[in-house]
């Protein structure tokens, strides 16, 4: 019987399952359980502290649908990720291609330099950068003024017209090293023989890039894009330390909105609405799931296209 066969195979592979167990337990505890519970709490009027919870059905979702600050935060999150992701991907790819050149002797040093911001604590980067881009004697403004490019300081973090762009720029700089490493790993999977053969056939740099590098990187690009995109939607620590979501909500992305709803702000009464925040988190999560499913479908499409006979494994 098929069931017996499955159990027999599982029993035969029991050391493998045993090794998987710790990871599985942790995933259940710290990923699946909170995920399921956030769905559950989303249907309650609950502060997150009080023992009394009131079931209110879909009311949190209907309230969210009419909450302009929720949609504004939603839009800002998409906008932030939509702008930051292509810039980050493109710049990191260019860097990876340059650093992948074996003729570049200092490549390891440059790789390290570009990766240092990635491993630097996000809050520290945000705090230091808020000083660098300060309107009052900030080095960035002083440099621009010394070069004669501006006459008066720019409110990089205080002007609502510039603050989001400043945040995107700093975020891309901070995380550029991560996709760069992914691209480098992907580039190193391309056999050098292909380039040598193309060169023998007379293909120049551009044709080698278009005909060999781009198609070989395409399956990796889907995965890297997804990782970067999802990462760019989760910018809580960075934004909280850099702008606190201000001025006047202008950088309040989805995670900051959820945090404000869930834990409130000091000096205000009864601002903790864990049920409502859970509902916001659920909707945000749905968006991320949609993106993840799209990525899975895209990967399958690429694999189908590249596998002999179109067999999907």
């Amino acid at each position: 019987m098929r069931t017996a066969g499955l159990l027999a195979r599982m029993w035969a592979a029991r050391p493998v399952y045993l090794l998987m167990l710790p990871g599985l337990v942790l995933i259940v505890m710290f990923s699946f359980y909170p995920l399921v519970m956030s769905w559950y709490y989303a249907f309650f009027d609950w502060s997150g502290i009080d023992q009394e919870m009131y079931f209110i059905g879909w009311q949190n979702f209907t309230e969210l649908a009419a909450d302009e600050y929720f949609w504004a935060a939603f839009g800002r999150t998409l906008w932030f990720a939509g702008v930051a992701t292509p810039i980050e991907l493109l710049l990191s790819l260019v860097l990876a291609i340059v650093l992948n050149d074996r003729a570049l002797r200092l490549a390891p040093l440059y790789r390290t330099l570009f990766f240092i911001p990635v491993v630097t604590t996000t809050a520290i980067v945000s705090i230091v950068m808020s000083m660098v881009f300060s309107s009052f004697n900030g080095p960035a403004n002083q440099a621009l003024m010394a070069l004669g490019l501006i006459e008066r300081p720019i409110g990089f973090l205080t002007d609502t017209k510039t603050v989001m762009w400043t945040a995107i720029g700093l975020f891309v700089w901070k995380w550029l090293g991560q996709p760069m490493i992914y691209w480098l790993a992907a580039l190193q999977t391309i056999p050098t023989e292909l380039y040598e053969a193309a060169q023998v056939d007379g293909a120049g740099w551009w044709w080698r890039a278009v005909s060999i590098t781009a198609p070989m990187l395409a399956p990796f690009a889907v995965v890297i894009t997804l990782i970067v995109l999802v990462g760019n939607m989760q910018v809580f620590a960075f934004m909280q330390a850099l702008t606190h979501g201000g001025p006047y909500f202008s950088t309040e992305v989805m995670e900051l909105y959820i945090y404000r709803m869930a834990f409130g702000a000091q000096g205000q009464v009864s601002t903790q609405r864990l049920g409502y925040a859970s509902a916001a988190g659920v909707l945000f999560g749905v968006l991320l799931i949609v993106l993840a499913v799209a990525q899975i479908l895209a990967v399958r499409t690429f694999r189908q296209g590249s596998s002999p006979g179109g067999v999907v494994r």
Binding site: I49, Q266, Q268
Partner: protein, 523 residues
Amino acid sequence: MDYRSGQHQADGTLPRRKLLELIGVGSAGLIAASCVDTSDTSEPGSRGTTPGLSRTIRIPDPAVELPAGDVQLRWMDSGDMKARFFEDFFPAYEKKHPQISVRYDGTNWNQITEVVTLGVRNGTAPDVFQLPSQITMGMAVSNGWIGAYDDIIPNFAEVKARYPAGAFADGVTDFGGKTYGMPLTGQQRINTLLLFNADLVRDLDVDLHTEILTWNQLREVAKAITTQGDGAYYGIIFGLAQPGGLSGPVNAMCQMAGVAGGADGIDLRTGRFNVTNPIVIEAIELMLAIKSDGSVHPDSVNLDAPGARARMPLGQAGLIIQGPWNIVPWRDENPDFHLGLNLPPQKDPNDIWPLSYGPGGSNTYVYSSKTKLGPVIADVMSYLSTLEGQVQWGLRVGAADPPAFPEAIAKLEIDELQQKALDLGTKYTVLRPEPAVRNPDVSKVYEVQVPATPTFSDTLVGLFTGQIRESVEQAMRKMEDRLEKSLEDAIAKARSRGAQVDRDDWVFDDWDPRQPYTKLYER
């Protein structure tokens, strides 16, 4: 004492006569130190206090039976200036009772919120702590998270009687006839003093040390300082990234101009919100005018209160409107910074209304219902509720968190600036009515109330940054609608859950905002 007397430190010279005096005082101090009780862990004569009162903390014998074995008391609060007292007090207490060790965590409110909200539910909360703003006292009592002091302190009625009227109140600290919160300090403090850099305002036409600024003068002074600074410093600095960064000063200025209940509060004489009051609109327009003059430190929008505060001793702004808790840290950490203070700017300096404060005191401590150290907590709280304990508190904490006992404040001998802050607080603050005291069900409204979004504080920042483009009057009309809706919705929700409450609970037609409203709190 002249508060500019630190000048000799600025130029680095010390007169010969002064040096000899200091050597003499130092020698006498060394001799005296060998005779005093070594439980005095404080720095003699430090932090601007005068030597008239002994700073020695003498722990009395306990009135309760303390544990015989080794135990550890865990105590968590928001630190700041309070830590200056507890860092002296707890070592003295440990010395008196070697079997008791104390783990004191003077931390920030985010940490308290995290530790307490989880700890009260899973039984790991510290023995004594302050409640974060997200947990009302009523919520903590009804969930059984905190214990009543009546149950652990012998003769608690006698202890309570030492506190002034309004320190304890039903629906605030007391529930079901028992007391759950101990307010160790009072509220007669002005959190929105005009603090100024004395060096930067020295050449102005107005003496800020002696003269209370009018609203118009505030604008002129800020402009003059900015012009004088020529980009090196600005007239005034705010911390707008923090809730209350601008609304706090506006609130105080409006209250002192006669807007009873504050700019975004309720006038308890009528039960209506104040935000559309013409005085409120005028105060906001004044702040916007100061901003459009270019007199506000350009980073104000992105700074929280500590960030703004840190820039004052650096000479980046001439004025800031904040509380007296800045005085000692600024002086300790920046001896060359010359600070002055006065009342916040007044619409009419000849007709100043007092700021009102609610019952329940300040720095209210609760204890975990799960604690096994009730006798230790009782012993500590009993000492802190004596005149001696309150004086020792005042000597270390000063004007930042004035003692709860008026007689302790009267006994304090502290430096001129702190004394001035204390005196202004005593003179210009009065106790107000609290709806939750007359009707305890009102606290159920507070527990379910969803704040109006954007809040008054947010709205002022929106106007300040130009994100809200409509007139101040229009913005305040919408603000009033939001505040009304927030309160009405909360009342409706509380009523649906059994609370007996209505809008009239916010009306006290016999309230005179110029007088303390004590009849509600008489025992």
